[in-house]
Amino acid sequence: MTRPDETTARPDEAAVTAQHEVVEDTASPPASGEHSVTGLALRRRTAAVIRRIPGGRRTLAYIAVAGPGLVAANAGNDAAGIATYSSAGSQYIYRTLFFMLLITIALVVVQEMAIRLGIFTGKGIAALIREQFSLRLTGLALFCVLLANTGLVVSEFAGIGAAFELLGVSRYWVIPPAAVLIWGLVLFGSYRYAERIFLILSLAFFAYPIAAILGHPDWTAVGSNLVIPHFLLTKGYLLLGVALIGTTVSPYMQFYAAAGVVDRGAGPANYRNARLDAVSGAVFACVISIMIIIATGATIGGRGPLSSAKEAAEALRPVAGSGAELLFAFGLLGASALAGAVVPLSSSYAISEAVGVERSVSRRFAEAPLFLGLFTLQTALGAAVALTPVNLISLLIGTQVLQGLVTPIVLIYILILTNRREVLGRHVNGPILRVVATVVVAAISVMSLLLLGQTVLGWFGLG
């Protein structure tokens, strides 16, 4: 997960030059005083740095509205994502790469539709669904989002558990306090500070692209797998394929991306920038995912399904050597804790938005009972399921399969909304996009249905 505005500002000398800059350019004041490191101050500091870069002003205008797309798409690289991509690498080496290329196209198309809805209507996706569909269909859509997200919450707590098991602490000791901690941080408003720590921890996963290069993969094999389909017609491959879709095109990302642009007041004038942000964010997220698969494929490819986080961590050995497990544990912890708050909030936000009640974080419980109640429920449920004594990696991938099954339903709603002239006016899907988007949604649906069919047949011993 990255934030362009902050990464630029992070080096200390950048902050210092920004302070200095203020002397001539007082429109961006220094962030001194009692609470200097607020997001706003950081953004201003960045602004001052960017002004020094030739053409930086345009970049700044971009950053002012950009971000939600990038953040949303990269949020896909969470605990469950890492587990699924690692599993793909270890089980099928590079055979899923072409499939990932298709998923990249799907993610780009879907994220672009989501931010277009936000930009041209000024409303969140849940509000649009409530206004455009019958109440029952709204209920179905929100139930799907809640189901998928609760699954994700389970996986985030499983991720926290797995991270601590790598460090030698039993998950039964860690998950309950972690759940209480995240819940408390969000409810009592100090989450924004904790979030920075989680973000920095999750940067550990940027070791993957380096590991992919240092792991000396067979680049010709990587190349041929990227451009030529290498599908397998087995149940395991189908299962993993659905999990890859689920973890890359998670429903909450579309809700988050739309809510993000609405929240920033981005209007039609900002559409080009926001689209650029959404598309580049989606591509960037998928490049990282592909790198994870390559890194894992090069180091432990061909071993079959992953059985533990320890195995997954081996993929980082080319970078960190014996510290690979530690690096992996930190990354996993950061990414899981980050998403552990964002995901349940995302579904609470969507449902409260559709019902039309208070949906901000820092109100007291009695003022936003539905919003905070749903958040509490998902956190509790997620932590409880993650405590059941099953293999954590299977649990992680299982939740992504659930996501993959629910994703097409949510995508159909988004597709219908973006096809409706009364919603988007002249910004409805054009004829080409309409075909591409329909093919994307249909393909994902077919895969999910195939998996569902196979599973049901399996119950009757026919699969």
Partner: protein
């Protein structure tokens, strides 16, 4: 400056709830006869002889007009795959889940919306409205009609979660009104997209009157909660200074988003009507290009004033002072000064003393409003200054920090102090509440999408 306004701590207005309850009881008689719109949609429509002619697709009501409750003007009837308009004159009765017509002969017309007309199911049900008693933005879970004096009127709106569950449940239950949280239509300000796009010639509703009477903080909450089209509609219904007061109370991030949404000309009008210190804060949060576009739309003197303020860093005295000053000379009379203060009544929160300057513009004293009240109108300011031992005016340079300003105020127990340039000329005033804003941490509502910024 961040404005963590005290409204966040207020309990929901208890009297508003009580008022709502009285309304509820007085309308009990009406409740016996009310019909739920949610259950009517899709209900069968019968002709005079009791034959089924089609299904009800929607109800048309006239939203803008003199009426307190919007009357129905017709129905949309679906016969086969065709939807057509039926004027209300053709309707005999509207009951729970069925509609009977007066005639056997149907005069079906294509529906074309007249100004101010709204489709109840499509444009109102499930859309955002403002509940003026509860001072909140809600979504209509159900709408209730009642037959009154030969007309069918839209009398109330239901917002309860139970009603949503009822509508999700089996059809049999859907027609049963569950009016535990019915809001009288009189206390509702609708914001349908269709209303927003209807011509401005439409009559003002009494709800607009009530909207204007809300406290700025309450309006700010409503603005934050509404969707974009509705927010713009609400802004356009408010006078510029009412709107500006509300904007001053908004969360800085929300305000930034709002200013980005509206046209630069409208943003300029709103910012120009805000207090200078709040206006500068709002402008500071925008990107350079956006700020320049807004300043270009303002009258030159206002733009110049704000640009000058913008050159002071945000957390120094110059950055959070207000430039609204009442100035007088020693030979003005108290009566003249009072009139000068009265002329600036729209800045009442920003004035707690009068700056007394000599002929060269040099600062002589800072005369508190208290002294204006306790002296006769014909006494001159000079006499007052000579008689009382008015202390030296409390001043800071424009680059003083928040902490220095706070120290000065705490030490002297003054409620405000003056910012002066190096020649001793007054530039602006800082009130104790400005310092409070600067010292308190951000406590605005945190909307979820902002969590990851």
């Amino acid at each position: 400056m961040v404005t963590p306004s005290p409204r966040r701590l207020m309990a929901p207005a208890a009297d508003a709830l009580r008022r709502r309850n009285t309304r509820l009881t007085t309308r009990r008689a009406v409740q016996q006869a009310i019909v739920s719109v949610a259950s009517l949609v899709g209900a069968p429509v019968f002709n005079q002889r009791g034959q089924r002619v089609g299904k009800l697709a929607d109800l048309v009501a006239r939203m803008h007009g003199q009426d307190r409750y919007p009357p129905l003007t017709g129905l949309l009837l679906r016969v086969g795959s065709r939807t057509s308009f039926l004027p209300i004159e053709a309707v005999e009765s509207i009951a729970h889940q069925s509609v009977s017509l007066r005639t056997a002969r149907l005069d079906l017309r294509e529906f074309s919306r007249r100004p101010g007309e709204v489709l109840l199911a499509k444009d109102m049900l499930d859309h955002q409205v403002v509940d003026l008693d509860g001072r909140q933005v809600i979504r209509a879970a159900d709408l209730y009609l009642a037959p009154v004096a030969g007309q069918f009127l839209l009398v109330g709106l239901d917002v309860s979660l139970n009603t949503l569950l009822r509508r999700l449940g089996p059809k049999r239950l859907r027609g049963r009104p569950t009016p535990e949280r019915v809001i009288d239509w009189d206390a509702v300000a609708p914001f349908s997209d269709e209303l927003t796009s209807s011509p401005p010639a439409v009559q003002l509703r009494s709800s607009d009157e009530q909207l204007r009477r809300l406290a700025p903080a309450e309006l700010a909450d409503l603005l934050e909660d509404l969707g974009r089209p509705a927010r713009q509609d609400l802004l356009s219904r408010l006078a510029a200074d009412t709107a500006a007061d509300a904007l001053e109370e908004m969360d800085p991030d929300e305000l930034e988003a709002l200013l980005r949404e509206v046209q630069p000309a409208q943003a300029a009008a709103l910012i120009a009507a805000m207090e200078p210190d709040e206006a500068v804060d709002a402008l500071r949060d925008l990107a350079d290009g956006e700020r320049a576009a807004i300043l270009a739309e303002m009258p030159a003197d206002k733009a110049g004033e704000l640009s000058a303020l913008l050159t002071y860093p945000e957390r120094e005295a110059g950055g959070f002072m207000t430039t609204t000053l009442v100035q007088a000379e020693p030979d003005s009379t108290i009566g003249e000064v009072k009139r000068a203060v009265a002329d600036l009544s729209q800045h009442r929160e920003e004035i707690d003393a009068v700056v007394i300057c000599g002929p060269g513009g040099e600062l002589l004293a800072d005369l508190p409003l208290f002294d204006l009240v306790t002296h006769a109108d014909d006494v001159t300011v000079g006499d007052v200054l000579a008689a009382d031992e008015t202390p030296e005016p409390l001043t800071v340079p424009p680059d003083a920090s928040v902490a220095e300003v706070a120290d000065q105020l705490v030490r002297t127990r003054h409620s405000s102090l003056l910012v002066v340039d190096e020649h001793g000329q007054p530039l602006g005033r800082i009130l104790a509440d400005d310092v409070l804003d600067a010292l308190l941490p951000e406590r605005g509502r945190l909307h979820f999408p902002r969590l990851l910024r």
